[in-house]
């Protein structure tokens, strides 16, 4: 059984899981979506595979209120770039969801690339595992997590502040 973690349950710095609802959302594959695009069914969310060329298809995705990106394995890296491009280049403002092999230890990275909801299997949400989310209070890059749908205070907390010489630590 999968649960859905929504943007409201994420706060700055740390990904907080306060609400997680059961989900059995189904998604349309991109090829099926293309066939159904003209009909009413096109409201169903679409699930994009990692090899999708987002630049090529973005214009058709634009009206959707949810784009789901599939992680066939937990070490798949392409959807991170796809999400970042959707936020940075196209200023896509609706929901970007991580689906598939979503692991607690990677939620932080996904979130920072612009994912705003996560479909995650129940067994990932044990206490010891979710403890893995509490670790990072800051980061070293600018990123895409300050997309308009997310809490505003993210922007400030999550953008890179280069080292200030007066806070240097001598060892």
């Amino acid at each position: 059984m999968n649960k859905l973690i929504k943007p409201e349950s994420l706060t700055s710095g740390t990904v907080m899981i306060s609400t997680a609802e059961q989900t059995n959302q189904t998604y349309l594959a991109w090829s099926d979506y293309l066939e159904l695009e003209e009909t009413t069914l096109s409201k169903q969310p679409v699930l994009l595979e990692p090899d999708v060329d987002i630049d090529e298809i973005y214009q058709r995705l634009k009206p959707l209120s949810l784009i789901a990106l599939n992680f066939p394995s937990f070490y798949e890296g392409r959807p991170y770039s796809t999400a970042a491009i959707l936020r940075q280049r196209y200023h896509y403002q609706a929901d970007i969801r991580a689906v598939g092999a979503v692991r607690v230890d990677q939620l932080n990275q996904m979130y920072r690339c612009g994912f705003s909801s996560f479909e995650i299997s129940n067994d990932q949400l044990t206490d010891t595992r979710t403890a893995a989310l509490q670790f990072f209070s800051s980061c070293q890059q600018n990123d895409s997590s300050d997309a308009p749908t997310l809490a505003n205070n993210n922007q400030q907390l999550w953008s890179k502040a280069w080292a200030e010489p007066n806070s240097m630590i001598r060892i």
Binding site: R78, Y80, D105, C113, S138, Q140, Q141, A161, A163, E164
Partner: protein
């Protein structure tokens, strides 16, 4: 030395805490081995043949004396009292216990060190010229840029799951000591109309398919460094092959698309990022530079000395070969060779680490550098102190005068430690070194780089050795393929295979036949690689396989 800010410190402590949690979950059976593997690799931890191996990052090779003391302490407390320096300016510990690794990481973080991204399919520890800031031929110190790249790449959310590992090197001098053309991205500081910027090389690498990088941007303004790197990484992350790990490096993508097409793709990606939030302002640059402490040089009004004079032949040989000119008058760069016969190349004991830390405090502003050639450097020694320093090094067997000479062999850990190895490499290094122990002869042979790798992963960089030795498996037997003509400097060349592989016991003689061939053909003042380039490979083939016509 770069001094951590509070946020740098917090970040490495938090990563250490996270890793502790991940290790505990793995040991409790609460994390799949396959998943833990990826997290531990991204924290420099391998599970090797005999024990786990922990690879500690030494960003662009810089160490403070306190950091070196900490490494000594770790090697004694958690390991067998020594560490191994790699060809990528890291230190490896071969015998830690998995359960103790989180504790080691805590120890490291107390001196601003870590093992983050020293392995795994992510951006690895950034490397640079070991003589940064002290070399006479330097255009600009590459270290602030290397540090900026270190910070930017650390736990980068978008580039933590790349198709394969990714290595970046930065050089600030004419003479390339960072081997930028055999890195995934090589950055070389260059000048254009009185401003400095970066020449960007992409797609170089050794390993199974050695390729020299292609230049994709002749001049990149410095403010755009991070947006441009993002563009390269993003193109690679999206298009690099993930179906075959032997074809997953960026060099394969660059080759498949063609360097020009690849460069165009990067360019159009970059145009969407250019001038965005990652653009580096002059304020950022100044702040970065201020985070580096600089040696407090004395104004020594000595005249530049042509040749430093030793007290006997040994000290003279050391001054001639291990001591290099410094850009500041009255100072010198001292190289400490870790290529003493009887010790594995790059290995250093806790005792030696502590001694060198002390010597660094006494003679070189408390700083030490680690080189790609697996040696150490005290970069800022007053010329008047050289002989005192030599005495102390000599007492500790650390004054071997062979820098860049034939017994300064570069060698990976090989079959004695590494589970990927086809063959052992340390005993081969030793067998080769043992035939060159007469200092006069070694000096007469002159500069020769010998590089040994235990398998085609090429950690010993055998493709760019003047003489390269590669361990291969022939029906379960250890054999060695010999190649000639590699060059790791700015005239990067890949070595060419000579012919059939040799069994271990024939390697020393085969190498020596190549050396004698060079001696036979060389012109006055010509070193090995120059003779090779003039004479061609055939003469060396004939020499390597006597009795067989070329």
């Amino acid at each position: 030395m770069y001094q951590y800010s509070e946020s740098d410190q917090t970040l490495i402590e938090e990563r250490a805490a996270q890793f502790k949690n991940q290790t505990r979950r793995f040991l409790d059976g609460d994390m799949e081995p396959e998943e833990f593997q990826q997290h531990r690799l991204r924290n420099g931890l391998y599970l090797q043949k005999l024990a786990p191996m922990l690879r500690v990052a030494i960003p662009y090779g810089m160490l403070s004396s306190n950091q070196l003391r900490k490494l000594a302490y770790i090697s004694e407390k958690y390991d067998k009292g020594y560490g191994h320096l790699t060809t990528r300016q890291n230190m490896q510990f071969n015998w830690p216990k998995l359960e103790q690794v989180p504790e080691i990481l805590e120890q490291l973080s107390s001196v601003q060190m870590h093992a983050i991204q020293t392995s795994g399919s992510c951006i690895r520890n950034v490397t640079a010229d070991q003589f940064a800031g002290v070399a006479g031929d330097e255009l600009e110190d590459p270290r602030p840029w290397a540090e900026m790249i270190r910070q930017w790449s650390t736990l980068h959310p978008e580039f933590n799951w790349l198709p394969r590992k990714f290595k970046i090197a930065v050089s600030g001098s004419d003479h390339d000591r960072a081997a930028v053309k055999v890195h995934d991205i090589g950055l070389k500081l260059v000048t254009k109309e009185n401003t400095t910027g970066f020449q960007v090389w992409v797609g170089g690498g050794l390993g199974r398919t050695p390729i020299i990088a292609s230049e994709i941007k002749p001049f990149l303004d410095k403010e755009h460094l991070l947006t441009y790197l993002t563009a390269v990484l993003r193109v690679y992350n999206r298009l690099g092959r993930r179906d075959n790990k032997y074809k997953a490096r960026i060099k394969i993508l660059v080759k498949a698309l063609g360097a020009e097409t690849f460069a165009q793709r990067v360019e159009s990606e970059w145009l969407t990022l250019k001038d965005g939030p990652d653009t580096i302002s002059q304020v950022d640059i100044d702040q970065f530079k201020r985070c580096f402490s600089h040696p407090d040089y004395l104004d020594l009004n000595t005249k530049p000395i042509e040749r430093l004079a030793g007290t006997d032949t040994q000290s003279q040989a050391w001054l001639d070969h291990n001591v290099l000119p410094h850009k500041k008058t009255g100072y010198a760069i001292v190289n400490i060779s870790l290529k003493n016969l009887g010790t594995a190349p790059g290995d250093i004991t806790a005792e030696q680490m502590n001694l060198i830390a002390e010597l660094a405090d006494d003679y070189s502003f408390g700083e030490i550098r680690v080189t790609h050639e697996q040696n150490l450097v005290l970069a800022d020694v007053r010329q008047s102190e050289l002989l005192n320093l030599w005495q102390k090094l000599k007492k500790a067997d650390l004054a071997t005068a062979n820098l860049g000479l034939i017994s300064d062999v570069i060698c990976c850990p090989g079959g004695d430690f590494c589970s990927l190895a086809n063959a052992r490499s340390i005993p081969i290094a030793e067998a080769i070194q043992s035939q060159y122990q007469q200092i006069q002869e070694v000096i007469d042979i002159g500069a020769v780089d010998i590089n040994i790798s235990g398998c085609m992963n090429a950690c010993g960089h055998h493709h760019v050795g003047n003489i390269g030795v590669l361990g291969v498996d022939k029906k379960g037997q250890e054999y060695y393929q010999v190649s000639v003509g590699g060059n790791a400097s700015e005239q990067t060349q890949l070595a060419r295979i000579l012919g059939p592989a040799f069994p271990a016991e024939e390697i020393p003689q085969a190498v020596d036949r190549l050396v004698q061939c060079y001696r036979q053909y060389r012109l006055p003042q010509e070193n090995f690689i120059q003779t090779f380039n003039r004479v061609g490979i055939d003469a060396f083939k004939v020499a390597a396989y006597p009795g067989i016509a070329a």
